[in-house]
Symmetry: C2
């Protein structure tokens, strides 16, 4: 759980970073920025901020904003309703994002994840203008560089509540306490 104050501060941070990236939002969108602390209550370490543009029964687009060195913990998007699960492309817009996916472990990875369960270590570095597509139902996690990151996500339908996290303590539902 994070406090309402932390929640609002994270929303303001995300809105500011999106504006710096030249992305125009409506007032309603700014107010709808989702802050996901993954149930750990240590938002600056583990979590992310998201703005969902569209999420239909077929496709989805979001902006993701990360604090410096903030980590989105390891998870996969399982099959559901006859689909193979969510396929997603991450495109870095600002800052730097280190993406870790299944495959040959990178010998000296650039990131140290926060305490938790991390099992995939194939590192892909995304700078602004660079992107990577993650197949459905494959493990991945990512961490922003020292200046944070803005990342566009283009994907099939998003069903965040179905995400399977490697760390059993993680809860994807956003949580705010007063």
């Amino acid at each position: 759980m994070i406090t309402r104050e932390e929640h609002e501060e994270a929303q303001r941070y995300a809105a500011g970073r999106l504006e710096e990236a030249g992305i125009v939002l409506t007032d309603e969108e700014r107010a709808s920025i989702e802050v996901a602390d993954m149930g750990l209550g240590r938002l600056r370490e583990t979590g992310l901020q998201l703005l969902v543009y569209v999420n239909t029964e077929r496709c989805c687009a979001k902006e993701l904003v990360l604090f410096p060195r903030q980590t989105c913990p390891e998870h996969r998007h399982p099959p559901f309703q006859g689909t193979p699960g969510k396929e997603e492309t991450f495109r870095c817009r600002r800052g730097l994002v280190y993406l870790y996916v299944e495959g040959k472990p990178t010998p000296t990875p650039a990131c140290q994840p926060p305490p938790g369960e991390y099992t995939v270590w194939h590192e892909i570095v995304l700078r602004p203008g660079e992107q990577h597509t993650i197949p459905p139902n494959t493990l991945h996690w990512f961490q922003a560089g020292p200046e944070g990151a803005v990342v566009s996500e283009f994907s099939t339908t998003s069903r965040d509540e179905l995400d399977v996290f490697t760390d059993p303590r993680i809860e994807r539902a956003p949580a705010v306490s007063d």
Copy 2:
């Protein structure tokens, strides 16, 4: 057909507008910007410039760039391979775009299309930060405002060669002559 010079000029225009919008591209992407004159050879009137970020068997994301008052002519995305056809969301980033879709005709539409076949007249104005989702297999066309436009498109799989244009003269394949 447009000349190679017109093609390169349109690519440079699109790259410049994307840069102004804060969108970082790789050199390879800049060189891959597609210029579609729709086979009419009157690019400034009818056509558009596109950058495809990703187009998998499930979803797709592009940036569209239009010259001032440039029109993408009326078309629909028909069903294919057991899918209902392409569903697309247009999100205006810069400039202004007038979108015309099926529905009650707008009494005094803001746009005059170039010569051709135009049958749907329900007008939706998109300013930066505004978006609209177009169901598959429904007719639509759009025209940029007086300062041109940058529009992000989030969609299911794109198969441009299957598009059905109302004007039988239209050919979607990009064409360049020397």
